[in-house]
């Protein structure tokens, strides 16, 4: 037994050594999440498990959005529609007594893929802000169609009769089992998307984001690649929706509302657009923040908003980017923080200078976070920091009086 145990540790250690930093961090992240069901009896019981399930489900959705945003340069503002479609697909199948894995899951994924194909066929012909607007419009269309689905609950939503049956058994009824099923699907999503990004297809997709003219000149027509990426991302997000419907045993039009799409974008930005573990971190942090802050006050978004502003300003690559910067020893020095708090104006100027240097450093090092850094953003960032700190100083003075 000790020999076998040692062998396992050796193999694990060797496997870890073979991974790069990002992969090691992802492995750690998954290991931590896998321990949650073991911790839940001690910390908060099944409630903790339910939050964990939701977080993992949204992580799947956020990865699919990350594929569109970071690899494809397609910022979809209607991605939550696929969550709703996946959940309605499974729920409607279940309400007709077809809530088995062999029917409900293909139905949910198939409808998501079809919706992605139909809307993507139009949407991916546009770029930039037009793409954002058109995906927003399609998302809201899906939302309003769902509200008018009178036989399936309309505005009030649809309660699933039961979680999806697996080979005729109620296997998913156990929260622990369900949690691990989601975790495995998240891992599968992560692996599939990370393979895809570095495959031939992913290379073309990233190339099109980088310089479309160059790609056309060597013979790539953008449309089919972007449309395929859109369908893949929509289908993966449909899977997340199917799981969310299962988890809540309920689906309502609110799942598709544009605010939900916005939250998905926030998760991606919060976690960081440069990496694939970024959206997982983003989804986890967002749901934990939502849970913790909403207990403090019902106006929790007032706290979340400025927090996001700070992340976008101070950590361009999101949380994953900040961890990376810290690892490379380029994080903001402690004395700068002190200066920022004591003398906001000079501190802000010094901080922006450091960012500028870091930005050019990272560009040399090939860091992705800095490639889209532009001087005008610098000016806006500095202005915002000054406004924030100025407001903080004023409030402080006012409190002392």
């Amino acid at each position: 037994m000790p020999a076998a145990a040692r062998r396992i540790t050796d193999v694990t250690a060797a496997a870890l050594r073979a991974l790069d930093f990002d992969q090691r961090m992802t492995a750690g992240l998954f290991a931590l999440m896998a321990m949650l069901p073991l911790l839940s009896p001690v910390l908060g019981g099944s409630y903790l498990l339910l939050i964990g399930e939701r977080a993992l489900i949204f992580a799947i959705a956020a990865i699919s959005l990350q594929l569109l945003i970071s690899a494809g340069g397609l910022v979809s503002f209607g991605h939550a529609a696929f969550i709703g479609i996946g959940a309605y697909g499974g729920g409607i199948a279940a309400s007709h007594g077809l809530g088995t894995l062999s029917v409900a899951l293909p139905a949910a994924l198939g409808v998501s893929a079809l919706f992605a194909l139909a809307t993507g066929a139009i949407a991916v012909r546009t770029r930039g802000v037009y793409f954002i607007m058109i995906t927003l419009a399609f998302g809201q269309m899906a939302f309003f169609v769902a509200t008018s689905l009178a036989p399936y609950g309309g505005d009030d939503g649809l309660t699933w009769p039961t979680r999806t049956l697996i080979f005729g058994t109620r296997l998913l009824k156990s929260e622990t089992t369900f949690f691990y099923v989601i975790l495995v699907l998240l891992l599968a999503t992560y692996l599939v998307v990370s393979r895809l990004i570095y495959s031939r297809f992913g290379r073309v997709l990233r190339g099109l984001k980088d310089d479309e003219t160059r790609m056309q000149a060597i013979g790539f027509t953008p449309y089919p690649y972007r449309l395929t990426a859109y369908v893949i991302a929509g289908t993966i997000c449909g899977l997340a929706g199917f799981l969310l419907g299962n988890q809540a045993e309920f689906v309502s039009p609110a799942y598709m509302h544009w605010q939900r799409s916005g939250e998905l974008i926030i998760m991606v930005l919060l976690g960081g657009t440069g990496t694939l573990h970024g959206p997982i971190i983003g989804a986890l942090v967002f749901l934990v923040l939502e849970e913790v802050l909403s207990r403090l006050t019902e106006h929790w978004k007032v706290i979340l908003g400025p927090l996001l502003v700070l992340v976008v300003l101070f950590a361009r690559g999101g949380i994953a980017g900040a961890i990376d910067a810290w690892r490379r020893g380029k994080a903001m020095p402690a004395q700068l923080w002190a200066q920022l708090l004591q003398r906001p104006r000079q501190g802000a100027a010094a901080a922006t200078d450091i960012w500028r240097q870091r930005a050019s450093l990272m560009r040399c090092a090939g860091g992705q976070a800095a490639t889209y850094w532009k001087p005008y953003k610098m000016a806006v960032g500095r202005l915002l920091v000054r406004l924030l700190l100025g407001a903080a100083a004023t409030i402080n003075r006012w409190r002392r009086r």
């Binding site: 297809f201 073309v204 190339g207 160059r214 560009r363």
Partner: protein, 249 residues
Amino acid sequence: MTKPLLRLEQLSKSFGALKVTDDVDLEILAGETHAVIGPNGAGKSTLIHQISGTLAPDIGRITFDGLDVTDLSMPARAHRGVARSFQITHVLSTFTALENVALAVQARSGSSFHFWQSAAEEEALTVPAMQALQVVDLAGRAHTLGGSLSHGEKRRLELAIALAQAPKLLLLDEPMAGAGVMETRRLIETLKGLKRRYTIVLVEHDMQAVFALADRISVLVEGRIIATGPPQAVRENAAVRAAYLGESA
């Protein structure tokens, strides 16, 4: 050497009231290096854009390799063997030099709808890409990001990308623009090595390069071709001297 690879017939293109290409007839023979020269604003780049498919002509016909390609898109023409460089460089800045070239190899070798296998590990892509980099003397920078290359290196990378497409026709839009003296000399040597192996249309301001490389020269002034012929004949052409070299005839 006698069969025309590319034929432009009565090509015209206007931007508003400005005629940028005015009834251009031109034949590019297989295997020749054909320079297009002319003062600024003569419509040289616009002509290249129409040959490569970036812009569509208003009227006229473009025949490439025996096929009317006037209505084909830029990617479709690329597949038929038209490769080009740009006056303002277009390289993928977040891709390494090697990946830049490997993508061009990928474009002509098999489907790009492979979702699982890592493209970086495909030797069928990286080996020819590396060879193209060696031709332009850029192998040492293979793993540098496109965005981090110097201007001259980007120019050579564009050439490597075009070569990796295994083209029948190479359209080079001012490959020497912005390059230093040494860099220009280096590029001329590289292009001399490519002459005869490829059919080349070269737009260039650097007369040293043009006379060193071109088999034939066409002079474009205000959208019209005023002379076509071997370098010596063009040099001595009175109309060319008057219009282009600024000498009174």
